[in-house]
Subunit: 232 residues, 2 copies
DNA sequence: CTCAAACTAATTGTATACAGCATCATGGGG
DNA sequence: CCCCATGATGCTGTATACAATTAGTTTGAG
């Protein structure tokens, strides 16, 4: 499951700076590099077997993406995600993804809709048989198709960056009991509304869907926090 | 009128790479560097009196921002803004700025609203006396205050990047007769709705406002195109 | 005269070099 | 025993060096 993705990374990264960018980003969103970790250029360069040059160039992009920040006296460190950030990002995602769904409704073909039907059907099977990984993959696939229908590269890029930003929390959301069921229900409703050409309503639904996701995540985070306190 | 801005640029750019970034960005959005111009690192470095290193780091940011793109065989060139891009950006702006206005309505204080009142009043004077530059400055000030009320750094950053992206066209929009009046009318209506706490309605109004701006710009662009054709 | 091949110039991508600053540890004085 | 000063260390920011690749040009053969 990892080989093709690694290959993709290499193919995309024709240049060292891009490979470094990708690996650094992966390390951050997967919390291999924890928040507040200072990025030591020489160390990272050594890890990746390059010089500092590509590392520094990757760092510029990561800063623009909001994954790292400049330290007051030079250098960079991994951003912590504050509660504020989380709310910001979910809020922005809700309007952007809502808008993307709106556009997708206007532009989707019956073929697209059928593909989405199939994905949701597969997801239901996964839910029954408990294949969490496959369920997640299908979820991503569903969204990718949906937003490809929107046919706006800029919008897609923004949405993806925002999703990556809170990727660190995806485990928490998935762990939530019943989330999968809710997700399927929403997806079915979306497809129906899209078939009906009710773009405005699809937009509203997606916005609600994402805001609900934020609520669940917050709740889960609080639960985690309590659990830690009890332990500590 | 230029000295303080230049100073600002220097103050903000404690590092060479940031000064280079700002100057390059300025050159692009002011169409000093025309679309499809290839960025010759050594030339730019010489122009700015630095080495290639800061230039390359600035380039990474500009690429992430969508102002330049990688050439297939290495190097970068200034992006052309396609009609598609324009529609994309206006569409995205409409939802993001609409959302920002929504948040601003929830979070603005009466002080904020009074400040906005004053700005609009000044704008009316400018309109009468034909001070276009000052009118524009006040317009920016109005939006800045509005979106500061929204109190979301990420949202603000996204909006600013999108505005910068189509900054090249601001002259066209301003040239449009009657635009200023419409703008003032909308701003007044916005403030009234914000006072009433009608966030949803403010959001709708802003969305409409921006989409209308797109329409005007397109019309002006077409007119420009016809004029050029007749000339050529 | 035309086309191709090879050479030249230009330009990028990456690596390395160097200087300046900040930090930390160590040691001497109060 | 504590505090400040001073030197060593580490890291960044910028410049430069080098190799590979591309594009352009000239020259030579058909």
């Amino acid at each position: 499951m990892e080989a093709p993705e690694a290959q993709e990374t290499v193919r995309r990264g024709r240049f060292l700076r891009e490979q470094v960018y990708r690996r650094l980003k992966d390390a951050i969103v997967n919390v291999v590099l924890e928040p507040n970790t200072r990025l030591i250029e020489e160390k990272l360069a050594a890890d990746m077997g390059t010089s500092r040059t590509p590392v520094r160039e990757a760092i510029q992009k990561l800063e623009k993406e909001g994954l790292i920040h400049r330290l007051p006296k030079g250098g960079f460190a991994v951003n912590v995600i504050s509660d504020e950030d989380t709310e910001d990002v979910f809020g922005i995602r809700s309007v952007l993804e809502g808008y993307a769904a709106y556009l997708a409704t206007l532009r989707a073909t019956e073929d697209d809709l059928r593909t989405m039907d199939e994905i949701v059907a597969k997801q239901e099977e996964c839910l029954k048989s408990g294949q969490t990984d496959e369920f997640l993959r299908l979820n991503t696939e569903f969204h990718d198709i949906l937003y490809q229908c929107a046919n706006s590269k800029k919008l897609m890029a923004l949405i993806n960056d925002l999703r990556d930003f809170i990727y660190r929390y995806r485990v928490l959301i998935l762990r939530y009991e019943g989330m999968a069921g809710i997700s399927i229900q929403d997806h079915k409703e979306m497809i129906a509304l899209m078939r009906a050409g009710n773009a405005k309503q699809v937009e509203k639904l997606v916005r609600k869907h994402i805001i609900r996701g934020m609520g669940l995540m917050k709740r889960t985070l609080r639960r985690e926090a309590r659990r830690k306190k009890r332990k500590g």
